[in-house]
């Protein structure tokens, strides 16, 4: 594929991840990182770094659109996000010291449990 075709394909994929991110309240890295590693052959680290650069404008645009509509509270969210950024630095350091596959299994189990709980809550509501 030519460079221009890759650019267009990536932009089209970006529309999908951006829409999913805005709806689901996530950054979209969980969708972009596998795509960048599998489809473009980027290394895990480069894919994560590149995805973070995309997550930032996505979250800003979605947050401003939601603030206009009165959903959530951006001021409070930004403040606990700043604390979260400090947690991120600690997490990155811990990642170097802990076994990755164990972490992933524990995290996957956590997501499966809370995901099922939300589905059950939603169906019962």
């Amino acid at each position: 594929m030519s460079a221009a075709a890759v650019f267009v394909a990536l932009a089209a994929f970006g529309v999908g991840t951006g829409a999913a991110a805005g709806l689901l309240g996530i950054g979209g890295g969980i969708l972009m990182v596998p795509f960048l590693t599998l489809a473009l052959g980027l290394s895990q680290q480069t894919a994560e770094a590149t995805s973070l650069v995309v997550v930032l404008p996505t979250a800003i645009v979605a947050s401003l659109a939601l603030r206009r509509r009165g959903v959530g509270d951006l001021g409070v969210a930004l403040r606990f996000g700043v604390v979260g950024a400090l947690g991120g630095a600690v997490g990155a350091l811990l990642a170097l010291a802990l076994p990755g596959s164990t972490l992933r299994i524990v995290f996957a189990a956590f997501l499966a449990l809370v995901g099922l709980r939300l589905v059950v809550d939603g169906v019962r509501a």
Partner: protein
Amino acid sequence: MTDRALRTTEAVGDRGTQRALDVQLVAIGVAGGLLSGLLGVGGGVVMVPLLVLWAGYGQRDAHAMSLGAIIPISVAGVLTFGVAGRVHWLDALALAVGAVAGARIGAGALARIDERVLKIAFGCFLVAVAATMGIRA
């Protein structure tokens, strides 16, 4: 929008705007950032369920709060990785051009969607992410 959806939005909206930064929200921010740094995934998949199941936010407000918190978290990540020279800038630009347009569509849908449908959809999304991670681990 249905009457029910309107009521839900107002009810949680009130709680959202009145709430100050407390220990619970700080803990959720740290959990989101920590797992983001640990596993290289966005903090959103952690923060949204904690905001709903633990902090008692409505599903819609929790998604908006998570997006807001992701802003400073990703700034820190971009600075760290950017300084390390790991970013593929052309790919990032292409994705961002699309993602910014998509984000408006997604946020518009989030503001309108029925909360119950949103909760079920997000729950299914988490289970799918868990399954994918389980297979890769």
